[in-house]
């Protein structure tokens, strides 16, 4: 018997979103207009089934052939160096997606859209 496991993109996106949001220095994830539209559509579909979807705002998952790329848009605090926070988000996403889904990510692209100075 053969068994094939498929991990859907929203699962990876939700795991990556939580990993990024819990990284020190990250204030919040930033969905953008396209992300907002995607989140609303997903939430509406889940509500029909009586489920509340895990948030994945600010994360896009791109699969091309065997390659998997995760893109994360974040707002960070000014207390830490932006480059260091970005690298920490990369590491957290690589680690948590592998641990929770068994799927290894090939690349993580972190975009810091805003820095909130004065916030610790």
């Amino acid at each position: 018997m053969t068994a094939e496991y498929v991990i859907a993109a929203p699962v990876i996106a939700s795991v990556a979103a939580r990993a990024a949001a819990e990284t020190a220095g990250v204030v919040r994830l930033e969905p953008g207009l396209r992300g907002l539209a995607t989140a609303w559509t997903r939430a509406a579909r889940q509500r029909w089934k009586g489920l509340e979807p895990a948030p994945a705002d600010g994360v896009r998952v791109r699969a091309h052939e065997d390659s998997l790329t995760v893109e994360v848009d974040v707002v960070i605090s000014g207390a830490d160096q932006a480059a260091a926070v970005g690298r920490a988000v990369q590491l957290a996403v690589f680690r948590e997606v592998l641990a929770q889904t068994g799927r290894s990510v090939d690349a993580v692209r972190v975009s810091i859209l805003d820095i909130e100075v004065g916030r610790q």
């Binding site: 953008g32 509500r47 990369q90 859209l113 805003d114």
Partner: protein, 185 residues
């Protein structure tokens, strides 16, 4: 729907103009990557909004705040600077975010207030970090008798913030003092 006029695209066109011409694209919008990106996002937003209107459930809380936050993020996404990344992929930061950090650093020098910050990418260093030229416009306090020292302090703080708070390297920093203010303003 009205979109705040402060949200200009890097090409100079207001987001509101793109919104108004959503169904009638002009020649500039056909050629401009910023306008095309904004238009695609606004079309997606319009479709999602229509779904919400059709949805019998109440609209999500803080709907307007979330939309405007998303619009701001879309504008910021236009101009990004590379930061060093140790892992496969990339780390980048918006020019607007860098400008906020540099303006805050300049303000903390005392006796000056930062106004406009222009950040321009000119290259990438060996670590993968963007090299930038910065032009900072300042207003100085009337009666400040140590103007040269103040400007040296601004230069020191802004340069330090670029590397320690962001992770980019400054190739040049031009300070333009264009106005004065009195205490209490």
């Amino acid at each position: 729907m009205e979109v705040n006029q402060d949200y200009g695209l890097p090409c100079g066109r207001e987001l509101e103009t793109v919104w108004e011409n959503l169904d009638e694209v002009d020649e500039h919008q056909l050629d401009c990557v910023h306008c095309r990106t904004a238009r695609e996002s606004l079309l997606a937003l319009r479709a999602a909004t229509q779904e919400l209107i059709d949805e019998p459930d109440p609209t999500p809380p803080d709907l307007v705040g979330r939309i405007m936050s998303a619009v701001r993020a879309e504008v910021r996404r236009g101009q990004m600077l590379d930061l060093p990344a140790a892992e496969p992929g990339s780390v980048e930061v918006s020019e607007q975010a860098v400008a906020v950090v540099l303006r805050y650093a300049a303000d903390s020098a005392g006796n000056v207030r930062a106004r406009r910050v222009r950040v321009r990418k000119v290259g990438v260093d060996s670590s993968g970090a963007a090299q930038v030229e910065v032009e900072l416009t300042l207003t100085t306090r009337l009666g400040n008798t140590s103007g040269a020292d103040t400007l040296a302090r601004v230069r020191e703080l802004v340069s330090a913030a670029a590397s320690s708070r962001v992770g980019i390297s400054l190739v040049s920093l031009d300070l333009l003092v264009e106005d004065v203010y009195e205490d209490g303003e």
